[in-house]
């Protein structure tokens, strides 16, 4: 049986200059190539449909090793493409049967791609995750009651209530702090998005994530953005901030961000 191949879309850009793409490995270990149409350049991998067809793809996505390999390969290409030119990353598993199908899509969505490429041009994405700092005194309520007339059980409950109220207060301060940090960082960015906080089993941290933010920042302002993160961390000792990036602008390429005018 002949091996049927498909076209895996990594990213779309405008610049046909293959600089930096030479020898770049895509999915399946082969070099990436480009498909051009409508003034756009798609960077793709040729993939075996026995592995990347609809049914096998669905099955393979459940295999974490497979998924990790593919996700990292895809991300590596997107990142390489975006290193020196504006890039629109495609979501994982965007596959065409042939170049003609991909070209038709590029022609059709040329306007969308142009708008998004304009938006991300000269900018990069930074991720900032915020956690409540671990509480210093989360021990059992203890200590002596100041009032000798209160029964021990009542005293315990009173101390417990005070402790819970203090925790609640600390929590609310942390949430308010995260809002402040997000507002401040948004002020340093061309655009900002909040993603659902990651589960603790994903973050590997005991403290809940308060905010999972993405910030689109001018390349020349990257240093300033980092300084702003540092300054916010200093201002909010109740929060832990984690900065990741620079990322290709994954969070800023959805079309619904700019409704049709």
């Amino acid at each position: 049986m002949a091996v049927k191949s498909g076209v895996w879309l990594h990213a779309v850009t405008r610049d046909a200059d293959p600089c930096g793409l030479d020898g770049l490995t895509g999915i399946g270990g082969c070099a990436v190539r480009t498909v051009q149409a409508g003034g756009l350049v798609a960077v793709v991998s040729s993939v075996d449909l026995a592995q990347f067809g609809e049914e096998p793809l669905r099955r393979n996505l459940e295999d974490l090793d497979w998924l990790e390999t593919v996700a990292r390969a895809h991300h590596t290409v997107v990142e390489a493409v975006g290193r020196s030119r504006p890039v629109v990353p495609a979501r994982l598993t965007t596959v065409y049967r042939d170049d003609a199908g991909l070209r038709a899509m590029l022609e059709q969505r040329r306007g969308d791609f142009d708008a998004v490429l304009d938006r991300v041009s000269g900018r990069t994405e930074w991720g900032v995750k915020m956690y409540a700092a671990p509480t210093a005194s989360a021990s059992e309520p203890s200590g002596t009651s100041s009032s000798g007339t209160v029964r021990p059980g009542t005293a315990y409950l009173q101390r417990r209530r005070a402790q819970l109220s203090a925790e609640d207060q600390r929590w609310q301060l942390a949430v308010a702090g995260a809002e402040e940090v997000h507002a401040a960082l948004t002020g340093c960015a061309a655009a900002a998005r909040r993603h659902p906080p990651q589960d603790r089993r994903l973050t590997g941290r005991t403290e809940p994530m308060l905010l999972n933010g993405a910030y689109l920042v001018e390349l020349r302002d990257s240093g300033r953005f980092g300084d702003a993160v540092t300054a916010q961390a200093a201002r909010h000792p109740g929060l832990h901030l984690e900065l990741t990036g620079p990322w290709p602008p994954y969070s800023f390429v959805t079309i619904e961000e700019e409704p049709p005018r």
């Binding site: 609809e54 598993t93 199908g101």
Partner: protein, 152 residues
């Protein structure tokens, strides 16, 4: 500025400047979150429905810190567990309808019906975006309002 690698720098009250922090390869969870949940949605010829992807990310959100960590924890049940898939399908009326509508609409002639298919893709994306603030039943305890759970 270099984009050669990602840093995952932590900032407490006494932090270093992010620009000078050590570089580590990007965390798998961060990569998966981006390549699966973000990035432009285009209807290709070969489709894995958004529902499938959503279920996948749901599972990942619940399970994966990193593949290594998951293995250390002996977690591999997502590969064999029909419960998550069947049960979660039942719990996703809006997502199910959306994803099926997308699939049905995209149909066999995705390219020919391209404009429509793309439109429904965008609608599905908007629904996804709109649904994100209600994670309680579908996304596990990913939202801070569930703090009492996390505090035991």
């Amino acid at each position: 500025m270099t984009q050669a690698s990602h840093s995952g720098a932590m900032f407490g009250p006494s932090s270093a400047n992010p620009a000078t922090s050590g570089h580590e390869p990007a965390n798998l969870g961060d990569i998966l979150e981006r390549v699966l949940d973000r990035g432009i949605v285009i209807v290709g010829d070969i489709r894995v429905s958004l529902l499938d992807i959503e279920l996948l990310t749901l599972k990942l959100r619940l399970v994966v810190a990193s593949v290594d960590t998951a293995r250390q924890m002996g977690i591999d049940w997502w590969e064999h567990d029909p419960w998550l898939t069947s049960r979660a399908r039942g719990e996703l009326p809006a997502g199910t309808a959306g994803a099926e509508a997308l699939e049905a609409k995209a149909g066999a002639e995705a390219i020919e019906a391209g404009a429509e298919a793309v439109e429904s893709g965008i609608e599905a994306e908007e629904r996804r975006a709109g649904r994100s603030p209600q994670p309680a039943s579908r996304r596990g305890d990913t939202h801070p309002v569930h703090r009492q759970v996390q505090r035991g």
